[in-house]
């Protein structure tokens, strides 16, 4: 492992800590006052700071430091985590995330914003209330350049009054004038606490000997007779004479860890005196019974209380720190209590052991399992074909193999499954930002955050979701005054829900805003030539107009949602994931967007059909029902259009073979099978195919890498007999049937 890999780990860890930070802050925002929550939040920032320091990421360190200091005030109950305080903290968490990203990807951060927040955080740490009516002055305008100067100008003072003191070793250079090497006389008398804390006189003496010429005399006068000896007491003291160019401070540095637990007297003596002293000490340097093993015995002193007491005394001696020590002690007690109370919960969390695996490895495994599924299907097929009176043991074995393969596949898929939580958490930030900019007051409620879905789906979900959230707050929710006038809570609510439903994940985004203004939407659609002026549309159809390209109802283009990206783009990205999106809206009560997405993009349940001699797979999720058309149910409509009547309603009949240019003329519907599919926008279509071969789970193989996008075809798969079958893009086929035909390159050989 090298530094770059560790840095990569650091950024991964930052992601986790930032998520932890945000969820902790949100818990606090909801009134959670569990000290462990505050501790977790503090630790998250502290960890980021620690790692950032190791990599020299100064911007990140300085911001994290200010943030940490303020959080420490909350931790020590000096700062009440009021909603206003938490607002600043949540924003700070956002900036911290930005700084982390900038440190990783080299992007830029909004410095005005981080400076404003640093000031606000420092103000909070100094006990000032946050500005009540905070102007949304910090508009996120990306700074064009990453400025060289660090975000923070002066070292901050934390609540203990601790301030980093510039420390220079330059002082040492002044002392040894010319070639004069001073000699220091050291009297070193360890207390028993020194040994109790794992320090060792012998090692200290060794280190002294390393900085210069040393002579040492051990004073054993206070050693009592053996029967009176307390093995934990310290009886020895040393007189050391050392000649070193590091001077008195250098000697003191050796005793850095020990000086609190010993009597230490260091003085520099004149050269000639030193020489005398050295001579004097020649005599006592005679071998003395100095048993190291005995020293080891004396070392470990068990009773802690005296240690603590004496240390406390030392602290008092250190004057002004005394009161702080008391505070620290009470805080320690609090922390201990908190830790104890939270221990259970934390342990429950940690019960689920996890390992970290490189995504590539999982993907390779998934690919292999995909091959295994295909291979197993091929094997079954060839056994059936070659051995019609096959022994039952082979068949049973094959069945078991099939079951196992399926189980392996499910388990491997489960490895890639991830909770949607991180994406939902990101949405919280989006809501905050846009609420700030629009001046609306918004509360985001998330439900079902632990619902799991394939990682690819999660990765691709963030963008459309962000856009929808922006839309919901910007266009959906009314201004607070307007809401109050309508008798609603001035604070708008946006609810984001995830749940599993029949093998898919359903994500709902509901706002309690004004709902779709159908009159306005309709007018806009007419203005934009989307519909005829006299078109008779149901409410549902009007609502669905917002998914049309180039549609925006906002009178003025706002900063956030008016980026030229409409709901049509959202719809397209959801469709690209094999999902569907729909809207339902009640005037005055709000709108609900419902997205239904497949749990994985690697396999799908499909219906295998034959069209003009080609084998195609139709995703099962799109199919509502299948039926055998009767001649009496088919009605011609216009030049080439045909309708099929199903239970007293008419549904356009779409010949898949014709749309895909598999054949030149329309097939006779009576000879084929109709698949009733639900298309986007609510309408249904009947897709004509020649025959249904069966239903099976297929492994999706993307075509795009080799053939680019093929209109009407979503992907391909390999069937049990080794043939390649194309997977139909139902929505594209339906869209093509509406008039615009697919491009010519559609007609591809479907067999491999």
């Amino acid at each position: 492992m090298d530094m770059n890999e560790i840095k990569e780990i650091f950024f991964q860890e930052c992601e986790e800590q930032l998520a932890e930070l945000e969820s902790g802050l949100l818990k606090l925002n909801d009134g959670d006052r569990d000290p462990e929550t505050v501790n977790a939040v503090f630790r998250a920032v502290h960890s980021i700071k620690g790692g950032a320091g190791a990599f020299g990421l100064d911007d990140l360190v300085s911001f994290a430091h200010v943030f940490e200091t303020t959080l420490d005030c909350v931790r020590s109950n000096k700062l009440e985590p009021t909603p206003d305080v938490l607002k600043v903290m949540l924003k700070s968490a956002d900036v911290l995330a930005d700084l982390t990203n900038a440190a990783r990807d080299g992007g830029s951060v909004d410095e005005a914003r981080s400076r404003t927040l640093i000031r606000e955080l420092e103000a909070l740490a100094h006990g000032e209330a946050p500005a009540a009516a905070e102007a949304p002055a910090a508009k996120p305008v990306a700074a064009p350049h990453k400025a060289a100067d660090p975000v923070m100008e002066k070292p901050p003072v934390n609540e203990e009054g601790f301030q980093p003191i510039p420390f220079s070793f330059g002082d040492f250079d002044e002392e040894p004038a010319a070639h004069y090497v001073p000699t220091c006389q050291v009297v070193f008398r360890p207390k028993k606490e020194l040994y109790a804390k794992g320090n060792e006189a012998v090692l200290l003496l060794r280190d002294v000997s390393r900085i210069g010429e040393m002579s040492v005399y051990c004073d054993m006068d206070s050693l009592p007779p053996l029967d009176k000896m307390n093995p934990e007491e310290a009886y020895f003291s040393w007189k050391i004479s050392v000649t070193t160019d590091k001077g008195e401070d250098g000697v003191r540095a050796v005793f850095e860890f020990a000086e609190w637990d010993c009597d230490l007297d260091i003085r520099t003596i004149e050269e000639d005196v030193a020489a005398d002293a050295a001579e004097d000490e020649e005599l006592p340097m005679q071998p003395v019974p100095f048993d190291l093993s005995m020293l080891d015995e004396a070392g470990p002193a068990a009773d802690e209380e005296p240690a603590v007491e004496s240390d406390a005394a030392a602290a008092v001696a250190a004057a002004e720190t005394a009161s702080k020590v008391a505070q620290a002690a009470s805080r320690a007690a609090e922390n201990a209590k908190a830790a104890a109370s939270a221990a259970g919960a934390v342990q429950a969390n940690q019960a689920g052991q996890t390992i970290r695996v490189d995504l590539d490895r999982v993907d390779r495994l998934i690919n292999l399992v995909g091959e295994l599924v295909i291979n197993q299907a091929m094997l079954s097929q060839s056994v059936v074909e070659n051995d019609n009176n096959g022994t039952s043991s082979i068949n049973m074995g094959l069945e078991e193999l099939q079951q196992l393969t399926r189980e392996i596949q499910d388990s491997v898929m489960a490895i890639r499954a991830q909770p949607v939580k991180p994406v939902f958490q990101r949405m919280a930030r989006t809501v905050r930002e846009i609420a700030d900019i629009t001046g609306k007051s918004v509360r985001l409620i998330t439900e079902g955050e632990n619902t799991e879905v394939d990682k690819t789906v999660i990765d691709k979900l963030a963008e459309p979701l962000t856009h929808m959230i922006r839309n919901a707050v910007d266009h959906g929710l009314e201004m607070p005054e307007k809401r109050e006038a309508a008798g609603k809570n001035p604070e708008g609510t946006v609810r984001l829900t995830a749940k599993h439903r029949s093998g898919r994940i359903v994500i709902e985004l509901a706002d309690d805003g004004a709902g779709i203004n159908r009159e306005k939407v309709r007018q806009k659609a007419i203005d934009n030539d989307l519909i005829a002026a006299d078109a008779n549309l149901s409410d549902e159809e009007i609502d669905n107009l917002i998914f049309h390209a180039g549609f925006s109802t906002a009178d003025k283009v706002s900063d956030l949602s008016g980026r030229g990206v409409g709901m049509d783009v959202v719809k397209r990205s959801i469709q690209a994931l094999g999902g569907r999106i729909s809207i339902s809206s009640k005037p005055g009560q709000g709108s609900v967007f419902t997205m239904s997405l497949p749990l994985t993009l690697a396999v799908l349940d499909g219906m295998v059909v034959t069209v003009a001699g080609q084998t195609l797979v139709v995703p099962l999720t799109a199919i509502v029902e299948t039926l055998q058309p009767e001649a009496s149910a088919i009605h011609s409509f216009g030049a080439s259009q045909r309708l099929i009547s199903i239970r007293n309603s008419f549904c356009p009949l779409v010949d898949v073979g014709r749309i895909l240019n598999f054949r030149a003329t329309q097939a006779n519907p009576v000879e084929g099978v109709a698949l009733l599919v639900e298309s986007e926008g609510g309408g249904q279509r009947a897709l004509m195919v020649d025959a249904i071969q069966g239903q099976r789970q297929v492994v999706i193989k993307s075509l795009e890498a080799n053939y680019t996008h093929v209109p009407g075809i979503a992907a391909a798969t390999i069937l049990g007999d080794g043939r390649v079958a194309l997977i139909l893009d139902v929505d594209a086929v339906v869209a093509a049937s509406r008039g615009q035909s697919l491009k010519q390159e559609t007609s591809l050989a479907a067999t491999g």
Binding site: M1, I6, G56, E160, N199, E200, V325
Partner: protein, 121 residues
């Protein structure tokens, strides 16, 4: 014989840095993620020196140090604390808990090895 170091830190980044630094310097390294695990690991590890962080979930560095000092078998083991910016108050508390010495963050391999050399034979 290789000296054995037990490191206790909840940050994966720091754990990895410690591991790389210590292994490069010829130490054998055992790691724990928090104080509770540290005490568990300690029982069979028999390390020559312990390096621990302060801010950790479940059991923080102070609690961990106290736990080690209460342990009949390991109470004399040198313990080095990782502290930030020579925070006087934390250093003080760590000393009261029974820390042998400290290493000031930001993490610096030389300082770490130096401190370990100072407290071990």
């Amino acid at each position: 014989m290789k000296k054995k170091v037990l490191t206790v830190d909840d940050s994966r980044t720091i754990r990895n840095m410690l591991l790389v630094t210590l292994n490069n310097a010829g130490f054998e390294t055992i790691q724990a993620e928090d104080g509770v695990e540290g005490l568990e690991v300690l029982e069979n590890a028999n390390p020559d020196v312990i390096v621990t962080d302060i801010n950790m979930p479940r059991l923080d560095g102070f609690g961990f140090i106290e736990g080690v000092r209460r342990n009949e078998k390991y109470r004399a083991i040198p313990i080095l604390v990782l502290t930030t910016e020579s925070d006087a108050e934390k250093k003080n508390r760590a000393r009261q808990a029974g820390a042998t010495g400290w290493i000031v963050k930001p993490f610096d391999p030389t300082k770490l090895i130096d401190a370990i050399e100072r407290v071990t034979a």
